[in-house]
């Protein structure tokens, strides 16, 4: 086989393996562990997707995005609205359907969520053209809030009452597949020529611009890709539970930031680690829940002072330095 064909076949094999892994883990989980743990694993997987996507913007491209929850919200609500309003019309698949027939509609819903969120990411990324650092941070925070307020005012998705009645279609298989996809895509981006451009912007934006890297285009792209995956995570979340804008506040954005910072900005593996630890640990430490946020905040401060590169540091992209 020609090299092209064989790498395509290899790719296909990997995809099949990933699907098998996702389904396999899910079946095992449903059999052997109780729904409470199952839920934690699902939430963990979603947080992994959020942390990885945020890492692209904050860790790899060095931008300041602190409104990530807004993207998750957009993806969640867009996909939920699609499933509840459009899917029964277009595919005749009602809320009580189950089995193979829901795979297509769910995939579409995820895409709808991801793409809508990507569009939001584009809008949020645009100001990055003229803004640096702290200002960009506040603007992303502002967008997160504006998105939340706008959703709160849309009655069709429940507004202040929340969006109930979304059919529960997500399970661990979907979440694992989603997390794997996010990981693979981001890892490939990072290793590519484009990845080096992102890193260059992080290291020294002006030098990169001077050397011909179209920095604005890359910065906006980072936002778009990150928003897409956050949107898919949101869509998966929407098809798992009841939606209310209170799940997408600034605090959620902060939690994702802590995950990325703890794991190490710029390190994809670090984000996986950070997300896992910070999803599992609060459950294990339920008795200390009122101190949890105090611990988080101290963790942030101490990390920044003592070890700003987090646990796994800037291991990716700093080779040869």
């Amino acid at each position: 086989m020609s090299p092209r064909k064989s790498s395509f076949a290899r790719g296909l094999l990997w995809v099949a393996a990933a699907l098998a892994l996702s389904l396999g883990v899910d079946r095992l989980a449903v059999q052997w562990i109780n729904p409470y743990f199952y839920r934690i694993l699902v939430l963990c997987g979603l947080n992994v997707m959020l942390a990885l996507s945020l890492n692209l913007v904050n860790g790899i491209t060095g931008q300041f995005s602190i409104g990530h929850a807004g993207f998750m919200a957009v993806g969640a609500y867009a996909s939920a609205a699609f499933t509840v309003y459009a899917v029964p019309q277009l595919f005749g698949v009602g809320p009580d359907a189950s089995g193979l027939v829901i795979v297509g509609p769910l995939l579409l819903a995820l895409l709808v969520g991801g793409l809508t969120s990507a569009a939001a990411g584009f809008l949020v990324g645009l100001p990055s053209m003229r803004l640096r650092g702290d200002y960009l941070a506040i603007v992303t925070l502002g967008f997160g809030e504006i998105i939340r307020v706008v959703i709160l005012n849309i009655d069709a998705v429940g507004g202040a009452r929340g969006f109930a009645g979304i059919p529960r279609r997500t399970d661990l298989a979907w979440v694992i597949a989603g997390a794997l996809t996010t990981w693979v895509v981001l890892r490939n981006v990072l290793r590519s020529y484009h990845g080096r451009a992102f890193l260059a912007i992080r290291e020294d934006e002006i030098a990169a611009e001077a050397l011909g890297v179209p920095t604005t285009r890359y910065k906006v792209t980072a936002f778009v890709i990150a928003a897409f995956f956050a949107g898919v995570a949101g869509a998966l979340f929407a098809h798992y539970t009841y939606l209310h804008t209170n799940s997408f506040t600034f605090m959620k954005s902060i939690e994702v930031i802590v995950m990325v910072v703890l794991g190490g900005m710029g390190s994809l593996l670090g984000s996986v680690l950070g997300a896992t630890v910070l999803t599992a640990l609060p459950e294990a430490l339920r008795f200390a829940s009122s101190e949890r946020l105090i611990i988080y905040s101290l963790l942030l401060i101490v990390l920044m002072i003592a070890r700003p590169q987090g646990i796994l540091g800037k291991t990716e992209g700093k080779r040869g330095k």
Binding site: I33, N34, P35, Y36, F37, R39, I40, L43, L152, N153, G159, A160, R161, G162, A164, F237, T241, Y242, H244, N246, S247, L269, G270, V272, L273, T276, V277, A280, L281, E283, A284, R286, S289, S290, I311, L312, T315
Partner: protein, 397 residues
């Protein structure tokens, strides 16, 4: 390769540790129920009030011997005032701790997040104070011991139009609070049906400090009465600021006004205002006074409507358990055992007993659950005069 093994093994260790901490369902000689509430977060006072109410009731019950000799244990989980945490908390209670019934929550948004889990697992859930009608619509295992907003809205409209004789109202709702939004619309519909006119409809957000901008607009429309279906924290401030601006018409509100802090905040501005209450804390009924006194001495604060409702929710649940014990001792025994089909059937029978609750003597009134599993109770209207509450009317449904 070794690099990537480290974090993976760390994660695996963590999961294993959690798994170890999980016990399997045990055989015990106690009834184990679960409670979830917002003990931390933005609405922490709701969760704490409810927790106190439940705790007080169960401690009294256990001191008197429990349910026919069997004590009741409650496992409390915090949902941090967040809906998805409510779902996780209830998941833990139902699947991890194996509770046979759940009490919670105050906020309808959190009840809505958790109820599907209880419904699916066949674990009865009683909400003390969620008033959004949709909560009990989720399934037949979901109950509440308070009235629902359509009823409350109608009562307020009747009160304003017929008892106070005022035909032009302004509505000031809390747009971030589904309770307030719902109550405001039910009021509006009922008021229109009675022939009243709404001259102004404004909104604020939970947590706002300053309402003068909206009050200015409301004042210019010259209403005769201002309806504020929100929570006490904002209501007190709204009253003060309204008076500061020269808007002196009476204000009427729902059960969200209920708190011993209301008058502390609003002070003289609230004179001549009215609101709905679940119970009247100065009601000379000895059972109510006993509750108020015990609560005060134990928690150093006057019990608010939420604590009273939680107290009654615990009571309704345990009285249903008691009836199950006398009518079907085998089923009652199964509730003490492990999570198996016998217990599931027993829980279904418990559900039936709860559904047939009739005239339960609670501190918030005689509670009867109707076919939609909502409580049929009178709405008490109280007025404020000279900084003190006075009973005005009790409206039967």
């Amino acid at each position: 390769m070794i690099r990537s093994l480290r974090p993976l093994s760390l994660a695996a260790l963590l999961v294993a540790a959690i798994a170890l901490m999980a016990g399997c369902a045990k055989q015990s000689n106690e009834i184990v129920i679960g409670e979830y509430g917002s003990l931390t977060g933005t609405t922490a006072t709701f969760g704490i009030s409810s927790k106190n109410g439940i705790e007080l009731y169960l401690d009294n019950l256990n001191a008197a011997g429990g349910i026919g000799g069997t004590k009741v244990k409650v496992i409390v989980e915090d949902d941090q005032s967040k809906p998805e945490e409510a779902a996780t908390a209830v998941n833990k209670l139902v699947d991890q701790d194996g509770v046979i019934a759940v009490l919670g929550e105050v906020a309808s948004s959190r009840s809505m997040a958790a109820a599907p889990i209880c419904q699916q697992s066949g674990v009865p859930m009683i909400s003390p104070s969620s008033t959004n009608p949709k909560v009990t619509e989720i399934g037949d295992y979901i109950f509440r011991v308070c009235f629902i907003d359509p009823f409350q809205g109608q009562m307020i409209a009747k009160f304003a139009k017929e008892k106070l004789g005022l035909t032009k109202a302004a509505v000031f709702r809390d747009i971030k609070n589904d309770y307030s939004v719902g109550l405001a619309s039910y009021f509006t519909d009922a008021y229109h049906a009675l022939g009243g006119t709404i001259v102004a409809d404004a909104a604020y957000s939970e947590g706002d400090q300053d309402f003068k901008a909206q009050l200015t607009v409301i004042k210019s429309k010259k209403p005769q009465v201002l309806i504020v279906p929100g929570y006490y924290t904002e209501v007190g401030l709204i009253a003060r600021q309204a008076r500061e601006m020269g808007l002196d018409v009476p204000m009427v509100g729902g059960d969200g006004w209920v708190s011993d802090k209301l008058i502390e905040i609003g002070q003289d501005a609230l004179n001549g205002c009215y609101h709905v209450n679940h119970y009247w804390e100065e009601d000379p009924n000895p059972a109510i006074q006993k509750f108020v006194t015990e609560y005060k001495s134990r928690y150093n604060a006057k019990p608010d409507g939420l604590a009273a409702l939680a107290y009654d929710a615990a009571g309704v649940l345990t009285s249903a358990l008691d009836r199950l014990r006398t009518e079907d001792p085998a089923a009652f025994k199964a509730l003490l055992g492990p999570r198996n089909d016998a217990q599931k059937a027993a829980r279904a029978k418990l559900r039936d007993r709860i559904a047939s609750t009739k005239d339960y003597p609670g501190v918030t009134g005689r509670i009867t659950l109707d076919a939609a599993r909502n409580a049929v109770k009178p709405a008490v209207f109280v007025g404020i005069k000279n900084g003190k509450y006075e009973f005005v009317a009790a409206v039967e449904p």
